[in-house]
């Protein structure tokens, strides 16, 4: 952190940094798709810190990321949708996320019941945003915005809400930091349709197992998984809608010098939490995006060598789907060379 210029920045200085919370995703030198779900909330110690205890994580990018989300939503309303039947799920997600945020940073935020039992009134205080308000669960007029969009101004996570019918359907969400997909295109699709383009996972049964698992998910027993790709630049919003802005970077990055390459190419890791909401019964899918440049990854020897092996070995179809086929060989070589210096 550099100059401390506001009370919020002082508050953010009290939480672990993004680097300390970085969820390095590779557990072996080879990466394949699997139904890699595990119970949430278990801390994971890393060479530089730890991650995994809270469902929502706060780091020093809190205000800049929320400002960026607000700007994206203002410019492109299709990043937010709540189909009419998802209104209860949106409220459920709102209350659940506020409780999780208060649990993650109790010195900075609190959610307190107000009034008589069963009245459904809550007081919310968030020192990071300056919010201090009282709302009534289920009463849209008691919040300044639609509940899901409003709560996504409180947490750094993207949110998708899945309605459970015979299958799961992605019927609501706020997704401003999509990794090369389009929430607006996917709204209303089934879970299996949404994952249609992913190679291998259908033949290998990975996706139907994940779907079966989610259908049986119970409240108060959240699970998590990680996913990853590479992104050029510290760019959170690589949604399909803005492909024309970031797509050319995949060409550009092949021509930069080595130092610039290590600074520009980021390992992008998503921590995805899977939560059965405890009132509506919808499944809440949280996506938290972490970005670290290769030059930072290279400073941690076990991360450098493992990331190099994974990138070098990754099969063509998976590298193609991840959109990294044009520069993953160079990324692997760059990481290997960094180990020889």
């Amino acid at each position: 952190m550099t100059a401390v210029d506001s009370p919020e920045d002082t508050a953010l200085a009290s939480v672990p940094t993004a680097w300390e919370q970085f969820p390095f995703p590779f557990v072996a030198d080879q990466y394949r798709y699997s139904t890699n779900v595990e119970p949430a909330r278990r801390p994971v110690a890393t060479p530089v810190g730890r991650w995994g205890t809270p469902l929502v994580a706060v780091d020093e990018h809190y205000r800049t990321e929320l400002d960026e989300r607000a700007a994206i939503l203002a410019a492109d309303p299709s990043r937010h949708a709540v189909l009419p039947h998802m209104r209860p799920a949106a409220w459920d997600a709102c209350l659940t996320l506020l409780g999780e945020l208060a649990a993650a940073v109790p010195h900075l935020a609190s959610l307190t019941p107000v009034g008589a039992r069963g009245e459904g009134r809550w007081h919310w205080r968030n020192d990071l945003t300056g919010d201090d308000l009282t709302f009534t669960y289920g009463d849209d007029a008691s919040l300044p915005d639609e509940p899901l969009r409003w709560v996504c101004g409180q947490v750094q996570e993207d949110v998708v809400l899945l309605d459970q019918r015979e299958q799961l359907y992605g019927d609501a969400g706020v997704v401003t930091f999509a990794a090369d997909w389009s929430f607006g295109f996917d709204v209303g699709m089934s879970f299996l349709e949404i994952h249609g383009p992913v190679p291998r996972i259908h033949e290998e049964g990975v996706i139907t197992r994940a779907h079966d698992f989610l259908m049986r998910l119970q409240p108060h027993a959240p699970y998590r998984r990680t996913n990853w790709t590479l992104t050029v630049g510290r760019r959170l919003d690589v949604a399909t809608e803005r492909y024309h802005e970031w797509g050319p970077d995949r060409e550009l990055v092949q021509r930069v010098d080595d130092e610039t390459f290590g600074r520009l190419v980021h390992l992008r890791v998503e921590v995805q939490h899977l939560v059965r909401l405890p009132d509506s019964g919808a499944v809440m899918f949280l996506i938290r995006t972490h970005l670290q440049p290769l030059e930072a990854i290279a400073r941690v020897e076990p991360w450098r060598s493992r990331a190099a092996e994974v990138l070098a070995e990754l099969p063509e179809d998976m590298a193609d789907y991840k959109g990294i086929i044009k520069y993953r060989d160079r990324a692997a070589a760059w990481l290997r060379a960094a180990g020889e210096q």
Binding site: S34, T35, F213, P219, H220, P278, D279
Partner: protein
């Protein structure tokens, strides 16, 4: 997930044969929220060694108590008799977290709720949610005159509810008409005695209702059953361990200090797979393919058991 320690804060015997209980935390703290139609698995008896599942009838959005209603089953395993005869205000009971297996369908245009006897309990919590979110509901509630649980709750939450006290034929006659009057997009929910559920399902099928629009509540089919006890032999050392009912093979191995890599513990991720040397596995996972299951050569110890008295694994 650990059990909840609860204390009985209210006992209501006003309906003959039905005892309603409020269960709260000893310090009055808020309880975990629950989805309408959820049930609570409660440990019963002096030793807490029996478990029964009871539908929650209270509001799950911010519960300070869990309410259940227990029908006295004279010839049952004894759990309900214990609730009726032994349990009193101030007593402690253990319960697992509420489980959701009979949730309202968010996208339903209308909800047709059919309850028989004590099967009204999950319907009550559906009605609470329907009132909160403005859902259109229709209720048919059949019970024995003078033995209707939650009649006042049902009428409070749904004044148009039809109370049917003239026996199963009256319910079915009324239902057959109602099934043909519903707007497209209505979902049917039924909870009650097994024979009644079967009759309602048959009537719905007869009226052309697709199965995806019909929902029923039978306890015990959701969570995996505890399974029969068996023994497992570790091929490498020849050691034999007991796997009691209610303990998974994975847990039994871990309790004996045998480390097995695992992740989800739900039969999904495939991480804990073990080769089988002899004996036949009782597969309960979602991971193995049908040919793998049929071969009997591998087992997922987090959920699967032995189909027989013993199993030998390559450990």
């Amino acid at each position: 997930m650990s059990d909840l320690e609860l204390v009985v804060t209210r006992v209501d015997d006003s309906v003959p044969g039905v005892r309603s209980l409020d269960l709260a935390t000893p310090d009055g703290a808020r309880l975990p929220r629950f989805v309408p139609g959820s049930h609570l698995v409660v440990h019963l008896g002096e030793e807490g060694d029996r478990t029964n599942a009871y539908s929650l009838t209270s509001d799950g959005t911010d519960p300070t108590a869990y309410s259940i209603s227990v029908l006295r089953v004279a010839d049952g395993a004894g759990g309900s008799r214990w609730v009726h005869d032994a349990l009193a205000v101030g007593d402690r009971v253990r319960a697992r977290l509420p489980r959701s297996a009979f949730a309202p369908v968010a996208r339903a245009r209308k909800h047709l709720l059919v309850a028989g006897g004590i099967g009204v309990t999950p319907i009550v919590s559906h009605l609470r949610a329907a009132a909160r979110w403005g859902r259109e509901v229709q209720v048919l509630y059949a019970f024995r005159e003078g033995h209707g649980a939650h009649v006042d709750d049902v009428l409070d939450l749904c004044p148009s509810a039809e109370l049917l006290v003239d026996g199963p034929d009256e319910l079915l006659a009324r239902l057959r008409v109602a099934l043909r009057e519903q707007p497209v997009g209505t979902h049917l929910y039924v909870c009650g005695p097994g024979a009644m559920i079967d009759a309602v399902l048959a009537a719905a099928a007869d009226a052309g209702w697709p199965g995806s629009r019909v929902h029923l509540e039978r306890f015990g089919t959701d969570a995996l059953d505890p399974g029969d006890p068996f023994t497992v032999t570790l091929a490498r050392t020849g050691r034999t361990l007991r796997v009691p009912s209610g303990t998974s093979l994975l847990e039994a191995l871990e309790a004996d200090g045998v480390a097995v890599p695992n992740l989800c513990r739900q039969g999904v991720c495939g991480e804990c797979m073990l080769p089988v040397v002899s004996g036949r596995p009782l597969h309960r996972d979602l991971f193995l393919s049908e040919p793998d299951k049929a071969s009997g050569r591998v087992v997922m110890p987090c959920v699967s058991r032995a189909d027989g008295p013993s199993l030998e694994v390559a450990l």
